[in-house]
Amino acid sequence: MTEPIEPGATPPRASGAPVVSLRGVSKHFGGVRALVDVDVDIHEHEVLAVVGDNGAGKSTLAGVLAGAHRPDAGQVLVDGSPVVLDSPAAARALGIATVFQELALVDDLDVVENLFLGHEVGSGVFLDEVEMERRTWQVLDQLAASVPSVREPVRALSGGQRQVIAVARALLGSPRVVVLDEPTASLGVRQTAEVLNLITRLRGRGHAVVLVSHQAGDLQAVADRILVLRLGRVHGTYTGETSYEDLLAAMTGAVLPGSGGR
């Protein structure tokens, strides 16, 4: 029942061709091999979870998709054609939005300014603050987020509130692929539930979701496929029903890829 799916094999629930694929992607930081020859397919209507130990390369993988890291080797394909994700703006333009693990919020800007940073709404040269604020409330309400004010610098917000803001930012403009790097790490029960609920809804609407998470609950609730990374290498892809113990074994290397679990 915990049959790992070999990389490249057709995943069970995926429909059609992948939106984004990584082919043989490697990334080094000096001597550290953060990603080694990684192949991933990301499909619409699917939540792909990425798990692994600390330092396994999960955030680096998210960074490659986000355009924050340029791979040293390998290709990124969007709809089957090779693309260069050389900046977060380029990734965003191709419909890939990311919530970074470190959130990447600008402390001195307020919530509205952060949400629309880099893709502000405006007419001509001038910004349309009213429209931006209106949409901000819309997306925050959707996430059941409680922030005291959307016109206060985000430095004044709590860790969880900041995380919700970062998630909200990724959702603006409904991107095709949403990459979430540990989006629930510092969220309360209610906000976690809202984010997971939202991920399910995103999948329902046909988005592709890449979810990096350590939380067993997250994975059980929403993951369709689970990609296990270990020391920068892909150690198998598992179905969403795989038990956390089996995943843990794969993450730590107790199970070899392709051995079929226990």
Partner: protein
């Protein structure tokens, strides 16, 4: 000095649940915003008032209309330079060479018009283009090669000071023809009181209209609206300040053309910083460069444009200084010009660490510094005292800024 009511620290904005009315309280919100808001100008206004009271007590002549007219005219060249400094500080960089750039620009205008016989407009265009080119070089070196702007602009300071001497040639000083329209309009050009009052009315009405319009749009979008009391209060405050300034200055020579130019530049910069994509990028990059990059801001372009704007304004400041002096010499833009400009920006409330500040800090800061200089000159105190007092004021301003910021973070 927010240009309208649609933004800014509504610290009492209480909205948690969707549908709940998003309202905020009136007077306290306004005051809170003035004192603690992102563009909180109140501390510096209080500081300026304090400086004026002290000077007026020691030397009543300080507050004479004639002297205040002088003060405004003196403030313009450094003020324009300080406005540029605000822009680089906001983006998280610094430009130490603004004095040299202004000196070079003054030299170019003098040599161009007097020695080479260029038309005045051409000479100014060349001077501004030089400023632009300098900023472009800084911007590229800083953002592409990642060199610290402190060092690049220090090198630029020396290099351009040398270039200024070379341009001026062996004479070292060139007088601009006293009767040229440029020198005359800088030194003796004043708004007709009727025109000045018309501008005040226009400004206040525009301000009011923008607030009412912004409020109406927010109401229609079902967002929190500033209460009418706040709109009235703000408009009244603006009208009072402008009316008092124009009314009092008009009892003497009035409002100089160059002063109008400076205020217009500050307004343009303020609108650009708060209401355009560019301004938002500047503040984002200055506050957190990496987060801005990850959010998709064109960081390189933003940094380069800030340097270009700064150097161009510095060049313009030099041109205005030459006009005010009626000459360009080796001392133009030298000595303490860049320190005064940077100090003015910081005293006015722009952070040295990027991301926080406003265009108005250039105007307010330069008024504080020039008031001190002007007052001490009236008292016949020497340069030495002037430096020491200005240094103390700068330190005081930074301490106040720190305290306010700490309170804000604790709040």
């Amino acid at each position: 000095m927010n240009a309208d009511g649609t933004r800014g620290g509504g610290s009492t904005l209480a909205a948690v649940d969707p549908g709940q009315a998003r309202t905020r309280v009136g007077l306290r919100a306004v005051l809170g915003q003035w004192f603690h808001g992102e563009h909180g100008v109140a501390p510096i206004v209080v500081g300026l008032a304090f400086v004026w009271v002290v000077l007026a007590v020691i030397q009543p002549d300080f507050l004479s209309a004639e002297n205040l007219v002088n003060l405004t005219l003196q403030s313009v060249p450094v003020g324009v330079i300080a406005l540029g400094v605000v822009l680089v500080l906001l983006v998280g960089q610094i430009d130490l060479s603004v004095g040299s750039v202004s000196g070079l620009a003054a030299a170019i205008v003098a040599v161009g018009t007097v020695t080479a016989g260029w038309p005045f407009v051409l000479a100014v265009a060349v001077a501004l283009a030089c400023g632009m080119a300098v900023g472009l070089v800084y911007g590229i070196l800083s953002s592409r090669l990642g060199l610290p702007s402190f060092v690049i602009t220090l090198a630029g300071l020396l290099f351009l000071a040398g270039l200024q001497l070379r341009v001026l040639g062996p004479l070292g000083s060139i007088n601009l023809p006293f009767e040229s329209w440029f020198v005359r309009s800088i030194q003796q050009g004043f708004l007709d009181p009727a025109v000045a009052w018309a501008l005040v009315v226009l400004w206040v009405l525009a301000y009011l209209a923008m607030q009412v319009w912004g409020r109406e749009r927010r109401r229609r979008a079902d967002l929190a609206c500033a209460p009418w009391s706040q709109v009235v209060l703000r408009t009244g405050a603006l009208a009072a300040v402008l009316g008092a300034a124009v009314g009092y200055l008009s009892t003497a020579r009035g409002v100089g053309y160059s002063v109008v130019l400076f205020v217009v530049l500050v307004i343009v910069a303020d609108v650009a910083l708060r209401r355009t994509r560019w301004g938002r990028s500047v503040r984002a990059v200055g506050s957190d460069r990496r987060a801005a990059l990850l959010s998709g801001v064109a960081v390189h372009r933003t940094v380069v444009s800030s340097f270009v704007a700064c150097s161009t304004l510095a060049a313009l400041g030099g041109v205005l200084a030459a006009g005010r002096l009626g000459a360009a010499n080796q001392g133009t833009g030298g000595a303490d010009t860049y320190l005064t400009a940077i100090a003015a920006a910081v005293i006015g409330g722009t952070s040295l660490f990027g991301g926080r500040g406003s265009a108005w800090s250039a105007l307010l800061g330069v008024l504080v510094i020039q008031s001190v200089a002007n007052g001490l000159t009236l008292l016949d105190l020497d340069q030495a005292t002037r430096y020491m007092v200005t240094g103390a004021v700068l330190l005081g301003a930074i301490v106040v800024d720190m305290l306010v910021r700490r309170r804000r973070q604790e709040a």
